[in-house]
């Protein structure tokens, strides 16, 4: 029985440690994008991973930065240790204290202070600043792991080497350094992992176009994590495992080396006298791998901004993560001669301070409707010369009306994608008659579907649903209306399965709920994995959202920015973006595009109601408005009341 418990306990620990990574590895081979349904084994995401240049570049940045940072930090750290070792105890303690403070400092403080210092001294944020920041926070780790080794140093080995005729340098490298090596190695590895792991400091110190894995993944949260990242994580995990195994093998080889050879005096042969230098096989392999990585890193990724700069210069694009087909940047370069450097953010709120404070110079940005409105009011945008954008003629007419609400007269923005909010439902899990003809938002309050409904977990979208049902504007500033909206949402609470944003889509694919409030862009994506899903826009109307290209005042390459927007409206780019995102692209050239629908088969795009709602429905739609600080406060206040009930 006791033995049983022991095994069970160990099994639990192993499960606890490795189940998450195991789950991720299994999902990386899932044909489907969904995290909840298994649709067959596939290498699809691995292929996509290797063909995704952005991901590969982020990967390259991550590892080159980690490698350079930990190498530089190791050299500096070891030298610092040598100096500190020669100090008196009191001085050394002071310096150790100074060394420990950055370790205890919150990353966010380090990150922000570094960013402010860079900007203050007029250093523009780029690859170098990230590297510098990483070196900065790695040094204390090196010192921390090397310093104790100095204390353990065999007495007087350095002097013994000098005594035997070694020069100080020779004595250091041959005698002292090997003794310090375990500490140096662990300092290096610690730095390396800290650097690879770091998000916060990188986030604040990176410049335009520099992404590491952590910042890239973070910026992709807007449209959901793609399974390519699972594939990538799996590859990295396996790589680390292999390196670990090899280094263990090397260690055990080292141990074997000596005792085996020790013989009694009378068995001694000539060979035994030849002291061996040279390396064991395992060490050779390890050194080989390290060399390959360093060379690959040095050749391919050194200061990562693209090597070839187009004849017309560089266009810096600041966009939501994963919000265009990544292949388009290459195509744009070939067609126009502009090199594109893309940089990503997750939310409008993250992008806004960057533009407002001018921490990095971008030529084109992508922003949502209400944010465009806000930025126009704050005079952060330049007018677009539509004369330079002939393709603008293809902008769909229906979207122009909505643009009046946030960019009257259309001076500052050019829509990239648009969509509506509606109800996605599983035809197998609902009564068909409920969804015949006009559907009302009230279906989400139907007791019949208790525990099967998913609502948005964000203030404005959840309020919008109730507001529309009650016949109010979704931008209402009326306290009474807000109260009614909140009461309505509270009333619905017992029926709701989950309040979810990104994973609403995945929950629906996995048949976890009957219906969910979702944006139209996610519907085609979801249908790919679950053909029982359908989408409807309720008769009361809904929110129409638009994400637009705009040109910030910091723009340095205006012509390039115009060319970029023009390119986005070309047929090829529109198709590529549509296929990649399955979001509606407001481009009339796509009206006749034949889309391979997962349910209906081949359909002409203009006939897919999901992304092209009728005029009648659109007439009852609104866009999200910027409510100003007081409005925001009111909405938060009521949201708290709702949340607390």
């Amino acid at each position: 029985m006791k033995k049983y418990l022991k095994v069970l306990y160990i099994a639990l620990i192993v499960l606890f440690l490795y189940l998450p990574i195991g789950t991720l590895m299994v999902l990386s081979f899932n044909e489907s994008k969904s995290m909840t349904s298994w649709q067959g084994f596939s290498f699809r995401w691995y292929r996509e991973m290797f063909s995704n240049e952005e991901l590969m570049e982020a990967l390259g940045n991550t590892f080159t930065i980690a490698l350079w940072a930990s190498m530089i930090a190791t050299v500096i750290g070891v030298m610092a240790c040598i100096a500190m070792n020669a100090m008196t105890d009191r001085k050394r303690n002071i310096f150790m204290g100074l060394n420990n403070i950055p370790l205890l400092n919150a990353d966010i403080v380090t990150g922000i202070s570094l960013m402010i210092s860079f900007l203050l001294f007029g250093i523009s944020l780029n690859y170098g600043t990230v590297l510098f920041a990483h070196v900065t926070f790695c040094i204390p780790y090196v010192i921390l792991s090397v310093m104790p080794k100095f204390k353990q140093l065999e007495n007087h080995t350095y002097e013994a080497a000098l005594d035997l005729g070694a020069s100080p340098a020779y004595a250091f490298f041959k005698v002292v350094l090997p003794d310090l090596m375990p500490g140096i190695t662990s300092g290096f590895l610690l730095s390396f992992t800290m650097s690879v792991d770091d998000f916060v400091i990188t986030h604040f110190t990176r410049g335009a176009g520099i992404n590491t894995l952590s910042t890239l993944i973070y910026s992709q949260l807007k449209i959901g994590v793609r399974p390519t990242l699972f594939a990538l994580s799996t590859v990295i995990f396996l790589l680390v495992l292999v390196i670990l195994l090899i280094s263990n093998y090397v260690k055990s080889e080292d141990k074997d080396r000596t005792p085996k050879k020790a013989k009694k005096a009378d068995e001694v042969t000539e060979d035994d006298y030849i002291y061996r230098s040279g390396m064991t096989l395992g060490k050779k392999i390890l050194v080989g791998i390290v060399c390959v990585v360093i060379i690959a890193a040095a050749v391919k990724f050194t200061p990562s901004t693209p090597g070839e700069v187009g004849e017309n210069g560089v266009v810096y694009v600041y966009n939501f993560g994963d919000y265009i087909d990544p292949e388009l940047t290459e195509q744009f370069f070939e067609e126009t001669g502009y090199t594109v450097v893309c940089d990503y953010f997750d939310t409008n709120e993250e992008m806004y301070p960057v533009i407002k404070n001018n921490t990095a110079d971008y030529d084109v940005i992508c922003a949502s409707d209400y944010m465009i409105d806000k930025m126009i009011r704050e005079d952060l945008l330049m007018e677009i010369e539509f004369g330079q954008i002939p393709n603008m003629q293809y902008l769909s007419q229906n979207i122009r009306d909505f643009m009046e609400e946030f960019d009257p007269g259309m001076f500052y923005s050019a829509p990239h994608t648009w969509g509506t909010y509606g109800i996605i439902y599983n035809t197998e899990l609902v009564d068909e008659e409920d969804f015949e003809g006009d559907v009302s938002w009230s279906i989400l309050w139907d007791e019949k579907y208790a525990g099967k409904i998913i609502m948005p977990n964000s203030i404005r979208e959840a309020d919008m649903v109730a507001a529309k049902l009650l016949g109010y504007s979704m931008n209402t500033l009326d306290e009474e209306e807000m109260d009614a909206i909140t009461q309505k949402l509270i009333e619905q609470k017992p029926l709701v399965y989950s309040y979810a944003n990104d994973n609403a889509r995945d929950l629906m694919i996995g048949d976890n709920a009957s219906m969910a409030v979702i944006t139209s862009g996610d519907v085609l994506y979801a249908q790919e994995d679950n053909e029982n899903l359908a989408y409807v826009i309720p008769v009361e109307g809904t929110e129409v959202w638009t994400d637009c290209w705009a040109v910030p005042k910091s723009c340095k390459n205006y012509d390039g920015a115009m060319a970029w927007i023009n390119f986005m409206y070309s047929y090829d780019a529109a198709v590529a973006n549509f296929e990649y995102l399955t979001y509606a692209i407001p481009n009339t050239q796509l009206d006749d595009y034949v889309y391979e629908d997962y349910i209906e088969g081949e359909t002409v795009l203009s006939e897919i109601g999901i992304i092209n709602p009728s005029e009648e429905i659109l007439a009852r739609c609104e866009t999200l408005k910027n409510l100003g600080p007081e409005g925001d406060d009111m909405y938060s206040r009521y949201w708290k009341i709702f949340k607390s009930k």
Binding site: T157, E159, L162, D163, T258, A262, Y273, Y275
Partner: protein, 368 residues
């Protein structure tokens, strides 16, 4: 044995650390082929002297002259001397052969020569066949012998040894003492040996230099140092001694504890206060009334070869050693042969002041 040619001369060497004087105008001549031992309590400056010789410490003033050449400013790695350190200081990441080959590789010797030398040196220290052992797998005595082998393969003119046996247990230490004497005779090089162990110094050396507080107290053969200590410090430091305040009544008569003892010393003058040294093994214990002075045994400890007893006589404690045991409380008489009474002048200056036994012990304990 020791030829009379000076190999190394230390002239007027002074050294202080943080204002504390360690060596003060120190002079020392080391002759070729000599086994010279610097002996003294910790803090006496003996290790500093060795480090100055090895080139690890620079003297504040003074010169080190090696065969007529001033080597005071020569860095350690250029000096024709090699050192065996207190805690061996072997290179832990190298095996035995690599450790021994270290100096030879630097001087660019051929592999064949190096291999011959390793073999020769290991044989010399009785560790043949240990070439490929990891140094960390060896015992303390073995490591020490490897450290010696590593030093001697470079054929230094002088071997400096800094308490090399300090970390070994008693039996091993005695064994190594004979090894060192043998080695010295086989190699025919000069040994400068530092220790605080007087037995070690007396066993091995041609010349013993007793040091205290940065000064040489006495320099001579082991016999001279033991039998004719020049002052109370030396007497106290070398072996166990009874040191009494005495008065030289006249030539050949000294008064100790109120009793007149015949002795062999002359020329101290009349009624002069002196220090009197009597070795415990030289005190003859007899029946009451048969000796010079009567007393009572106050303690008795068996320490192996003999009994060590304290006898209260004439108001002083007399430390005696005898193979016969006298139980505590026995009334006895004490007698000393005149030639076994060593008369010394009282210290003239403060620097020469003998430090008390307690102080010596105290410092030793501090060191540990």
């Amino acid at each position: 044995m020791a030829k009379d040619t000076t190999l190394i001369q230390m002239k007027d060497i002074s050294k202080s650390y943080d204002g504390e004087i360690v060596l003060d105008e120190f002079d020392l001549n080391i002759r070729e082929n000599e086994f010279i031992t610097l002996l003294g309590p910790s803090g006496c400056g003996k290790t500093t002297t060795l480090r100055i010789l090895g080139g690890f410490t620079k003297p504040d003033t003074g010169k080190v002259i090696f065969e007529g050449t001033d080597i005071t400013d020569m860095p350690a790695n250029k000096r024709p001397l090699n050192t065996v350190f207190q805690k061996y200081s072997l290179f832990p990441h190298m095996n035995v052969a690599e450790n021994i080959a270290f100096g030879l590789r630097i001087s660019g010797k051929s592999a064949a020569y190096i291999n011959d030398k390793i073999k020769y040196a290991l044989k010399l220290v009785n560790l043949a066949g240990y070439e490929n052992r990891a140094v960390t797998s060896l015992s303390g005595g073995q490591q020490q012998r490897i450290a010696i082998a590593r030093a001697i393969v470079n054929e230094p003119r002088v071997l400096l040894l800094d308490e090399p046996l300090g970390a070994l247990d008693l039996k091993l230490r005695q064994e190594m003492q004979y090894e060192l004497i043998r080695l010295k005779n086989e190699l025919g090089i000069t040994f400068v040996y530092v220790t605080h162990d007087q037995e070690e110094a007396l066993t091995m050396s041609d010349t013993v230099v007793v040091m205290n507080k940065g000064y040489i107290q006495q320099m001579g053969t082991p016999e001279q140092i033991y039998n004719e200590p020049e002052n109370a410090f030396v007497a106290d430091f070398i072996g166990d001694s009874n040191i009494f305040d005495g008065i030289m009544i006249e030539d050949r008569v000294v008064e100790i504890c109120g009793h007149k003892f015949p002795c062999v010393d002359e020329g101290f003058g009349r009624n002069k206060p002196v220090d009197v040294v009597i070795r415990p093994e030289d005190i003859i214990i007899g029946k009451p009334g048969q000796g010079m002075i009567d007393g009572v045994v106050t303690s008795n400890v068996f320490i192996g070869v003999h009994y060590e007893m304290c006898v209260e006589a004439g108001g002083s404690e007399w430390l005696c050693q005898n193979t016969r045991s006298f139980p505590v409380g026995t009334e006895v008489s004490l007698n000393v042969e005149p030639e076994n009474i060593q008369i010394m002048n009282k210290p003239q200056s403060e620097d020469e002041e003998a430090i008390s036994l307690e102080e010596v012990l105290g410092e030793e304990q501090q060191e540990e």
